[in-house]
Symmetry: C2
Subunit: 308 residues, 2 copies
């Protein structure tokens, strides 16, 4: 059973969309990654930090899904990272209303001994300093290190981000961020520039427009499933990353063919995540639904053209 | 051999992109549609109008490709429709600088007798009044009537547009226009509303983000090929429509499975069109290149996931 080590935020989110709003609910990159990855037969652990205000029932959600939380530090008297955001009508853009780092501000990650030999490490969106610290604590080089990041770190910690990118195998990033990082408008050229920074694989996430996987001269494209209703996009990118990393940890195969499948699994799980607020849909997901939707993905994309 | 009747503009375009600019060159919806469709083994004709200023060499380009121009009226002393536009840096948006309707203003289309029994009719973007007039002149109901339109007609001739949409089988339209026409943000819901207006098939074009084909409860998605360089998007949508209609006229099969192939052929040809100014790339396209790129489309989208 593949070992997956996940680093990222565990947080409270308060979300407003055109369809409604929530109080503080369970959120954070590592949470979404962990929940998505838990759909696969793997041994996973989360490295993160929360405050004393973090409820036991949220911890139980993780442990109930066999996610190891020995690396999830609980700071006495501390408050959990809190993000509040409001989506615009098209759901493609949002305003951040509140970002209270709280215990995240001084977070020093500690890799549990049982997981410093992880097969796959998924570095969720977080300060590159934290991501790098995790890599440096590993006893052996994982088969795959996957990194997700965002424009905030390009603006505020570019040198450290570039240093961690040197050490990874797969970068997942959205289209605008890929353009910002490389100063290339063409995503094909952007991916080629990113290869020179370190990674062998680049996944460019385009939200409702799908995701592109680049490796050497090869490109694979997975659409997002066209949905009647998108309720809340929060965590869709992290759910994608969790499905991607979880599948790769379970299958132990880093070939391009297998990476393609990982992209499809990630897109598939993300299509569920957006149907309800926060983690709600992911917590009630069963294997039958997942398989049924994979079938839809096949129908959506597969065709047969004779090439005599 | 399937008969394809094409209606649309034949025009002069002057184009400015971040990569350069042109004087008046050959353009127009019917031109791009005709050139794309001529890649298939069909009998095609263009219904349109030009002025006396339209050069013989441009007419030769059409007839050299076996496109019948007996329905292409040449107005003595008249001037050809002229469009001038400038693309923004991202190539996704553009400003129209000049639109001189000229001979197009009083255009009364006449369907040549040899083509009033066409198998497929491709109504390119034009005043819905002209599109409707062509339908009314047909001796028998074609197997397929495909209509392309744009937001300009929704703003300025909505009643006539709705009337022509009642009579068609396939509507091709871009994502923003689909949303405007239906007042639905979800493209799935938009397509369902369009079905109620008349067509059985809806193709929603998303430019660099690909195209969606809807039919009853089925959805198919074709990505745009990720390109290193996009030089000039002018005519890409018409080239798509021409490839789509041309393939359907050649194959005489309106099943969903075959429509999927038509969408791929359309996307494939459009991927060439954007590589040079105007029609330049389409005029130097050979079958070997087309097949090679179809292979790339397959590689880009095909995957194998076991669904036990």
């Amino acid at each position: 059973m593949g070992k997956l080590l996940i680093v990222g935020t565990v947080a409270f989110d308060a979300i407003e969309t055109p369809f409604g709003k929530t109080d503080k609910i369970l959120g954070g990159a590592a949470t979404f990654i962990g929940l998505a990855a838990s759909q696969f037969d793997i041994d996973s652990a989360i490295i993160s930090v929360v405050g004393e205000d973090f409820p036991q029932k949220y911890l139980d959600i993780l442990t109930d899904r066999n996610i190891n939380i020995s690396g999830l530090e609980i700071v006495k008297g501390g408050k959990t990272f809190f993000w509040k955001g409001k989506y615009h009508n098209d759901l493609n853009t949002r305003d951040t209303l509140t970002t209270d780092l709280n215990v995240l501000a001084d977070f020093k990650p500690v890799v549990p001994e049982d997981y410093n030999d992880a097969d796959v490490v998924m570095l969720g969106n977080l300060h590159p300093y934290v991501q790098l610290s995790v890599i440096n604590q590993l006893k052996k080089r994982p088969k795959l290190i996957i990194l997700d990041t965002m424009n905030f770190w390009m603006d505020n910690a570019l040198d450290e981000l570039m240093e961690v990118i040197e050490h990874i195998d797969v970068l997942t990033i959205n289209d605008e961020e890929a353009r910002q990082l490389t100063q290339e408008y063409s995503l094909v050229k952007a991916a080629q520039k990113i290869f020179k920074m370190g990674p062998n694989y680049v996944v460019i996430k385009k939200g409702e427009h799908g995701a592109l996987l680049f490796h050497e001269e090869q490109i694979f494209f997975a659409p997002a499933l066209p949905l009647e209703e998108v309720f809340d996009p929060t965590g869709a990118g992290d759910t994608f990353a969790g499905g991607f990393a979880g599948y790769l940890a379970a299958s132990d195969d880093s070939s391009f063919e297998n990476m393609k499948k990982a992209v499809i699994h990630g897109s598939n799980l993300a299509s569920f995540s957006v149907e309800k607020f926060g983690t709600e849909r992911m917590l009630k997901l069963n294997h039958k639904e997942i398989k049924e939707r994979l079938r839809q993905f096949k129908k959506l994309t597969q065709f047969d053209i004779e090439l005599q």
